[in-house]
């Protein structure tokens, strides 16, 4: 069949493009591609204003089209897009990770300014830089140093930064919410209305029913009333009313997500970000 010869031709061409290169050829290819890339960017810069929105729209649409078609048009017999997905995922992740420095640039600007102008608390900003470079350098040295002693101590230092600082700092920050939740319960959880009463009562039953406390508090209830025991009440609340309500909210969110997805995908979304003259 003709399609198969076409297919063969394509694969030969594709094979030529993706063939592994090494040494000087590789270096030349990389340098050349960089030049081509710079050229593409330069061309993009000079795209006239009226073509800019269509370009963004097309890229948005095509980016999503692959995933949409994979599911909607794919079948057991026809699944080239499914086979392409792992590569597609890799490409996305690699490109996305280049955005990493966006946040870092901002942080550097803020703290760099504080240090250079010696504003109040600039020492803290200095600590930011020290911590930033210390853990990053320790990480790279431990991975790339050739001398065993060097990489060994870097590894130990990295472990100290990681297990001695980063891990406890993040878990402590997170655990601090427990204090806030206690004081919030005390000051804000009031029976102001039917609504807040319902919320408060459900929360209280659950708090007791989820832990052994509830088990012992209402264990004296006789068998015919056993459904009133806190653990049974809270179990019923969770699988009964709570489940129905969570599902109702999920349905709303599901349709909402579909609508939002469509608007974005087809570039129908409006708002200052989308409406701005490019």
């Amino acid at each position: 069949m003709t399609t198969s010869t076409h297919h063969g031709l394509w694969s030969i061409l594709w094979g030529a493009v993706v063939a592994e290169r090494h040494g000087t050829v590789l270096a030349l290819l990389i340098a050349g591609s960089l030049l081509v890339g710079a050229g593409i960017l330069w061309m993009l810069m000079s795209v006239p204003t009226r073509y800019r929105k269509p370009v963004v729209m097309a890229v948005t649409f095509l980016g999503g089209l692959i995933l949409a078609l994979e599911f909607l048009a794919g079948s057991e017999k026809w699944h080239p897009l499914t086979d392409f997905l792992p590569t597609y995922g890799n490409v996305q992740m690699v490109i996305g990770s280049f955005a990493l420095l966006l946040g870092i640039i901002n942080l550097f600007m803020i703290h760099g300014q504080a240090v250079s102008k010696r504003t109040k608390g600039w020492a803290n900003s200095l600590a930011f830089f020290v911590a930033f470079f210390a853990i990053m350098m320790a990480g790279f040295v431990k991975d790339y140093a050739t001398a065993k002693a060097v990489s060994g101590s870097a590894d130990s230092i990295f472990t100290v930064f990681f297990e001695g600082f980063l891990m406890p700092l993040s878990s402590t920050m997170f655990s601090m919410i427990a204090f806030y939740i206690a004081s919030a319960a005390y000051r804000a959880f009031r029976i102001r209305s039917t609504e807040s009463a319902l919320m408060m009562i459900t929360a209280s039953i659950l708090m007791l029913g989820l832990v052994p406390a509830g088990l012992y508090l209402t264990a004296w209830l006789p068998e015919p009333l056993s459904w009133l025991r806190l653990e049974n009440l809270s179990a019923w609340l969770l699988v009964g009313p709570n489940m129905a309500v969570q599902r109702a909210m999920a349905f709303g969110i599901a349709v909402g997500a579909l609508a939002v997805g469509l608007r974005i995908w087809l570039s129908l979304e409006r708002g200052s970000f989308f409406d701005r003259q490019l």
Binding site: P86, S170, A182, V211
Partner: protein, 286 residues
């Protein structure tokens, strides 16, 4: 009456300090062993794992880091222990870099205790980047998707992977998570391949998961450390004191404390409203 209103203005730092005391005391002095309560969703999780045939592997999909170790750590540990005891092979993949370290430690310490061998009874696939392709790959071609294990060895060469290729050889997938990763695993790993999914969330996320338990998209669930403690009861550890059982006892006192706070707060609220009404509708200090 007056004291109730005054209590309303109690410094929040006093409440913070009381929370610490209420939690610290049961951490030092606590009843031995486990509470007897076991909820149905934990029971079902136990049954799913318990009935997995020997020729299949369980995948622990672990999406948590050190900041939620006290919730997700006990869940990971008890599931690993059960599978070691039953001789069910399992592989754990971590979608969190720091979490990979923590789960590997849990595995190695249990392995020592139960005389099991890494690479033969279990494998840690290390940290992998969470994306659609990786989730899909678990079902379609596990060894190729994982490639190297935590120690950098080729996964397909490990004895534990004998006969494990794709979803036909996977008994269940367990999602141990501290963030919204459940749906991804559902969409790309378990449902297209008809695999059983168990869920080990942090308490915050457990409430939203009941809709999936109802639909069978999730087969069983261990809710936070409390769920892990219940699971420990099921595998015959009810007399042993563990991190999860201590947590459960400490939670009991803390929850009662918070309920007392809520009650006091509301009594004070009512009292101050009454007082305000008596003073002729002066605004209450709410």
């Amino acid at each position: 009456m007056n004291i109730l209103i005054k209590l309303q203005q109690i410094d929040r730092r006093v409440i913070y300090a009381l929370v610490v005391v209420v939690l610290a005391v049961p951490l030092i002095f606590h009843p031995a062993g486990h509470p007897t309560l076991v909820t149905p969703e934990v029971h079902r999780a136990f049954e799913v794992i318990d009935q997995i045939p020997k020729d299949k592997m369980v995948i622990l999909s672990s999406a948590w880091g050190p900041s939620t170790e006290s919730e997700n750590g006990p869940q990971t540990a008890v599931l690993m222990r059960h599978m070691f005891m039953k001789g069910i092979r399992f592989g754990i993949v971590s979608w969190d870099q720091a979490g990979s370290q923590v789960t590997y430690k849990i595995g190695t310490s249990l392995e020592k205790e139960l005389h099991k061998q890494y690479g033969v009874d279990w494998v840690h696939f290390g940290f992998k980047l969470l994306n659609e392709a990786a989730l899909r790959g678990i079902g379609t071609d596990l060894p190729t998707t994982m490639k190297n294990d935590k120690l950098g060895k080729l996964v397909s060469r490990l004895p534990v992977m004998n006969g494990i290729k794709d979803f036909h050889n996977i008994g269940a997938v367990v999602e141990i998570s501290a963030s919204g990763t459940l749906e991804g695993t559902m969409i790309y790993t378990t449902q297209p391949n008809g695999l059983s999914l168990l869920y080990c969330p942090t308490a915050v996320m457990s409430v939203e998961a009941y809709k999936y338990l109802d639909s069978g998209q999730v087969k069983g669930m261990l809710n936070s450390a409390v769920g892990a403690a219940q699971y420990e009861t099921l595998i015959g550890m009810s007399d042993v004191t563990t991190q999860a059982s201590i947590t459960t006892w400490a939670l009991s006192t803390a929850h009662i404390f918070i309920i007392v706070l809520i009650l006091l707060g509301n009594l004070g609220y009512i009292a101050s409203k009454k007082a305000a009404r008596r003073q002729g509708g002066e605004a209450s200090n709410d």
